[in-house]
C-alpha cells in the first residue's frame, strides 16, 4: 500500500511537469505548425541563468522569475530571428515539395538545440550542478510515519495546476487568446479577420518558452543540471503530447499525467531500467490504436 501511494504521488508530481512540457510543445505546434525540438534546450538555458543568479546570492524567486522571463524572451527571439525568415514564401519556393518545406523549421529547431547546448557548455562548463528547490524535499511526517509526499511535490502540483488554469482562461476568455486559437485553426481566415498572425505566432513561442522554462525549474532539483539533462524530459514530454494528441492542449496535459504515472509505477514496481521501454510501448500502442492521440479533436468537417 505504501509503495502504491508513493508511486501515485511521485507519478502525479512528475506527470505535472511532463504536462507542462507537452503543453509547450502543443502550443507551438498549433500556433506555428512546428515541433520544437529546441524547447528543452531553451529550458536548460534559462535554468542555468536562474542557477547563476541564485549562486551569486540572489533569492530563489529572483532566479525563478528571471528564468521564466528569459524563457519567454528566448522563444520570441527564436521565432523572429530564425523561424520567420525560414517560412518566408519567396525563399522557400526554392524547395520542391511541401514536405521538405515543413521539414526545414524542424531541422532548424534541432540545430538551435545543438547551439544552445554547446553555448551552455562553454559558458557554464559541461559538468553537473545541483539546483535548489523552493520547498522541502523530505516527506511530510504524519503520526510518526514519513509520508511519500514532499512539500516540493505539493509546490510542483499546485504551480502547474495554476499555470494550466491561467493558460486555459487566457485562451478562452481574452481577445488575444481568441486570435491565437483562430491563427492555429485557420491562418487564412485569421488573416482576413485582421489578425496579425506573425504576432500571435511569436506570442505562442513566448508562452511555450515560459512554460518549458517552468518545467526546467521544477524538474532540475530532482535531476541536477547539465547541458544535456533535459534531453530525456523532451522525449518524455513529446511522448505525452503524442499520447494526448498534438492538436489538443487538454489532451497534452492529460497525456503528461498518464506518462508520469506510468513511469513512476514502473520505477516502483519493476525497475528504473524498464522505464524507457515502457514509454516506447505506450507510444507505439497509441500510434497503432489511435494515431491522432487519445484526445485529438475530430477532423474539421470539409465541405
Amino acid at each position: 500500500m505504501d509503495t502504491f501511494l508513493a508511486a501515485l504521488f511521485s507519478g502525479t508530481s512528475r506527470g505535472a511537469i511532463y504536462a507542462l512540457v507537452a503543453l509547450g510543445l502543443v502550443i507551438v505546434w498549433r500556433g506555428a505548425g512546428i515541433v520544437n525540438f529546441a524547447q528543452m534546450g531553451q529550458a536548460m538555458f534559462s535554468t542555468y541563468i536562474a542557477s547563476t543568479l541564485i549562486n551569486n546570492g540572489n533569492s530563489y524567486w529572483v532566479g525563478f522569475f528571471v528564468a521564466l522571463f528569459a524563457g519567454a524572451a528566448m522563444g520570441a527571439f527564436l521565432d523572429i530571428a530564425v523561424m520567420r525568415p525560414l517560412s518566408n514564401k519567396k525563399k522557400s519556393e526554392l524547395l520542391s515539395s511541401d514536405s521538405m518545406r515543413a521539414a526545414v523549421p524542424v531541422i532548424a529547431s534541432l540545430g538551435i538545440l545543438g547551439v544552445l547546448q554547446a553555448l551552455a557548455g562553454i559558458i557554464w562548463a559541461a559538468e553537473e550542478r545541483g539546483f535548489p528547490a523552493p520547498a522541502a524535499q523530505e516527506g511530510f511526517t504524519i503520526a510518526g510515519n514519513v509520508a511519500p509526499f514532499t512539500s516540493f511535490d505539493l509546490f510542483v502540483i499546485s504551480i502547474v495546476l495554476f499555470t494550466l488554469l491561467a493558460t486555459t482562461l487566457f485562451f478562452t476568455k481574452t481577445g488575444m487568446g481568441l486570435a491565437m486559437r483562430a491563427t492555429a485553426l485557420n491562418q487564412e481566415v485569421a488573416k482576413l479577420s485582421g489578425i496579425r498572425t506573425n504576432h500571435t505566432r511569436t506570442l505562442s513561442w513566448a508562452i511555450s518558452g515560459a512554460a518549458s522554462s517552468l518545467a526546467g525549474l521544477l524538474i532540475t532539483p530532482t535531476s541536477n543540471l547539465s547541458p544535456n539533462t533535459l534531453d530525456l524530459v523532451l522525449i518524455v514530454g513529446f511522448t505525452a503530447a503524442v499520447v494526448g494528441g498534438l492538436d489538443s492542449p487538454a489532451g497534452a496535459v492529460i497525456g503528461g499525467f498518464i506518462i508520469g504515472l506510468v513511469i513512476s509505477f514502473i520505477t516502483f514496481y519493476s525497475s528504473p531500467e524498464d522505464v524507457f521501454i515502457a514509454i516506447l510501448v505506450v507510444l507505439l500502442l497509441v500510434l497503432i490504436i489511435k494515431p491522432r492521440g487519445i484526445f485529438a479533436g475530430k477532423d474539421a468537417r470539409r465541405v
Binding site: G175, L178, A179, R181, A182, L185, N186, E188, V189, A190, K191, L192, S193, G194, I195, R196, T197, G297, A300, R301, V303
Partner: protein
Amino acid sequence: MLKVENLVTKFGSVIALDGISLAAAESKITTVIGANGAGKSTLLRTISGLERASSGSITWQGESILEMRPEEIVRRGIAHVPEGHSVISELTVEENIEMGSLFRRRKFKSDVAAAMDEAYQLFPRLHERRSQLAGTLSGGERQMLAISRALVSRPKLLLLDEPSLGLAPLVVEQIIDSVNQLCRSTGLTVLLVEQNANTALGVADHGILLALGKVVADRPAAELKADASLRAAYLGY
C-alpha cells in the same frame, strides 16, 4: 474607390489574371461574372492580399495596397469573404463573429458591440445559434456567418466570392437581398463574384465579364444582362 490596373497574377507558369483593369464605384454593387477558371476568385484573392500579383497596380482610396499583407488590408476597410463559407468550424458562432472585430476592440470598444448587434439583426438565425460551434451550421448559415465576420470589421468595401455556391435558391435570395439592403442603406461598396450570372446581374449596378483572365465586357449590369450574344458566348445559356 478601388482601382485595379493591368493586374497580372501567376501560379507558376499558369497565368490566372492576364492584365486586368477595372474599378469598383463607391456605394455601388459591381459584379464580376464569368465561367469556371476565368480568374474571378484569383482577382478577389489578389485584391485582399492572399495572392501576390506579379505586375500591375491596385489602388484603394489613393493608396497602393499591392504589397500589403491581408491583415493590413482588412484594417484599411476591405473585407474579403472567400469562396466556400470560410468560417472556423471549431469556434462558436459568436467567436467567429468576434474574430472579425478583434483588431478594433481597443480603439472602438463600444462600436464593436454595436457592430455585432447589427450583424445579429441582419441574420437573426445566427443570434439563436450564437453559442453553437460553427461546424454544426447549415451551408446557408455558414455563409451568413462568414459575411457577418466581414461586416463587424466595418468595411467600406466588401469582396464577396460566390456566396451562392452550393446553396438552395431561397437561401441565395435571402443572402443577396441582405447584401443589397446593406449596400443601399449604409453606402457599402460591394465587389461580388458570381458564377450565377442572372442572380448577380439582377442586383448589381455594374457588371464585368471575365474570360481566361481577361476582361471581355465592362458595362452597366442591365445592359450586360440584356446582351444575349455575350451570354451565349461566355456563359453558355
